[in-house]
Amino acid sequence: MIQAKNKMGLIFFPAYDWAIEDTHPEREERLLYTQDQLREEGVFDIEGVLEFKPDVATELDVMRTHFCFPDVASVTTESHMISAGGAIRAARLVLDGEVKKSFALVRPPGHHAMKAVHGNRGFCNINNEAIMIEYMRDNYGIKRVAIVDTDCHHGDGTQDIYWNDPNVLFISIHQDGRTLYPGSGHTTEAGGPNARGRTINIPLPPGTSDDGFLYAIDHMVLPILKDFGPEIVVNSAGQDNHYSDPITNMNFTAQGYAILNDRLSPDIAVLEGGYSIQGALPYVNLGIVLAMAGVDYSGVREPNFDEIADEIRQERNITAYIERLTEVVLGNYFKPAEGRELLYPGDYVTRKKNIYYDTDGIQESQVESLMRCNDCGGLLVLESVSSVNPLCLGIEIPVGACPNCRDEGLKYFERARKQKKYAVIHFINRVNKEYVRV
């Protein structure tokens, strides 16, 4: 029998009875062929590869992370709670020492879900990785986490949630936003004033293949991770960079995904997008599982790889472009742009955002105000109005908040309650683990 070098937990939950719509890419069938491939390869018989059921995330798990308007139940279904619960289970397995690494092969995905949630955008309602990370921080005292998002689409939801968090490093490698949904993820987006350099975007040109992705891992991601020194590395394992993906333009392969995971060596991986469900997912998932488990993956290859190998070779100008990108990306982390010095602690910095929920057709307008703080992530206040909800408010006293931000947050909440200006107020107090909706 084959032995895994790393004892590994798989949370395989294909939700065979759930779809966004009949012919939507996010439908029942999505992980069917992956399961066929994993079973036929005998992955579940590898000694040290264990399969587990997902947890079901609770309302509290969601409220700890998101401002859901009007409430959690209105913007989620059972499938979302199980998908997020799958990620939580993956984290528990690793932190309880039951396994060395874990992979939550769950759907629906979550990385386009932002701090405030009014509905579904980019096939996502709630952010599985963020819910998992906040669960770890509340229940296991984990402080520093790095997320490496390898989905082809910019992980704009995860970026939004951790924009102001100095203790969570978010790195997204994706197809350049000028050529693909959601259009963001440029190198100029590098974190809020209290967390400069903690958001790192690596936009790659269409046509990038294994060479380019692995170059980005070796020369950008790994040096940054080494310096940041996270306790846990999470891979948002989207699989739509694959050359056969129907809605993207990249040339990554199953073998490339396996090598990436081998080098990145994440503690936890959580499935994100990837809609080439017959031509890519079975092989990419096999590669990721084997690489994480420390089992030889050199034989993993798409059946049609030989025919397409020449077609997907990376062009020289792309290679040159990615090499040039390195300096910018490393600079964003190691020498973050000026900005915070211009503000005094206690000042509010505001961002105005208009967000379109493509799946549900919802339009949202937000004003996010963050209190400048030298001692913590800073008090966050978020006013939001959308085509489905009147003006709502979210207030968050962040993890490890300083006394000043905490007091300010409590006062803000009291004032807002008296004003009767908001249809719903969500109050998150991470210091007291208090999560309130009024």
Partner: protein, 552 residues
Amino acid sequence: MYIGLDVGGTHTDAVLLDRGGVVSTCKTDTEHSNLLGSIDRALREVTRGIDLGSIVSVNLSTTLSTNAIVEGNVEPVGLLVSSGPGIDPENFRAGRHFYLLEGSIDHRGSVVRDIDEKALAAAAEGCRKKGVKVFAAVTKFSTRNPDQELSMAGAVSGFSDFTTLGHRLSGQLSFPRRVASAYFNSAVWRTFSDFAGAVQKSVAAMGIGAPLNILKADGGTMPLSRAADYPVESILSGPAASIMGIVSLCHVTEDSIILDIGGTTTDIAIFASGAPLIEREGITMGGFPTLVRSLKTRSIGIGGDSVVAVKKGKVSVGPERRGPSMADGGKQPTLIDALNVRGIISYGNGARSVQGMTALASKHDMTPEELSSTAIECALNAIKNTVEEMIYEINEKPVYTIHELLEGKRIVPEKLYVMGGPAAAFVELLSDRFKIEVTVPKNFEVANAIGAGLARNTMEAELFADTSRGVLSVPNIQVSERIDARYTVERAEADAVRYLAAYMKTIGAAVDEGGIDVVESSAFNMVQGWHTAGRDIRVKCQIRPGVIMDLY
């Protein structure tokens, strides 16, 4: 009347049954060098003085294939394998004639690369020269497309006495299990079919005209005609025999625990709502996971003859057996002796039990009573822990739909059935420990033979249909049909049952369509470019393990 025969490692048990219950029984030692002789003796004994014409069936549980594999007493197999990309197939090498051939089939059953005909011919020729007579042909995803296995078999057909085709063993996916199962099947084929042939002759010579069935690990039987081609399915049928005995002897209706406490081991099984649970993937034989369907059982090294020892002040029981208990004339105290000392049983030479326990206890500053109690505790704990692990595993079994995850049934045992030599001694101890009702079935001494005798034919089949390609197949029973684009899951369910019933008829099994259950059924829309291109339909049906009649 029905005859059940269980040729075990130590004893051969035979039982003759009719509507009224057990008519006669026989227990004789198993002669390993002359299994046929043991069977003959037992058969003559139980049928003495009865009308042989009234015998309906003779069911046999035998360790022959198991022992052949465990002892390495197997025939060289020409193992022809093709895997295509994926995990290195070298990991699944078995035997000395392993040929890895180019060729590849994907998960839809499409041929990606043809079999390397030259290499295949060379492999066949190599085997022929070395005098290899039996073969196994296995490719990845052969359950979706058996063509490459068939062409491999074709290459050796001129000189092969027997070739196992991987896809015929099961519709289930798992290339490594398929390789191991096919290899074992061919490796024991000759031994088993020679033996089966001899048994059939000997039964006929005795004047018994009833059909002969072979017991399988899933608690069901297969007609001899099928067993001759699928001998691997006869492995590890021993525990299943006893479990089916319980099904017949006791009216089990709730979630239950079944313990069979023997001399060396305790076999544990779990029932859900009165039905024995089946292993999800297949049984593991000699460290190799296989596709052989099996009841969910676990065996631990705790039995009446398990040695009681003290190491660094810690009392242990088993897993070794070093001869019988002292009460039975052995040299080291065992669990039986501990039970004797505590007065829970009064077995054999009690004085020797006391003597043995006292000697061991005094070396470790204990009274013999203390030592005995601790030893009994220790045995009970081992059993309880294993039972709890099994139930945890069953309840944590992964599921793949939201409905099952949220509504899934959990096993909570309400009753415990215990059989085996020391069973009666354990009733109070077990009910104390498990806090549930404990029952010792009557006739449990021959529950194994009763189970074998009354087990009915079982079989399973998986139908796979792809309406975009217009094909339907049930690989293990050789069904392959064209279907139209409107083919539905309802039709697939009816077809699966019909095909299986027809197959059972051809192998001479007594089953009608009513006895076949659809256990899994799904239909997925396959979408290409935002349009539904067809449906992927999968139906799994089975004849559940069960008994021909109840004896309670």
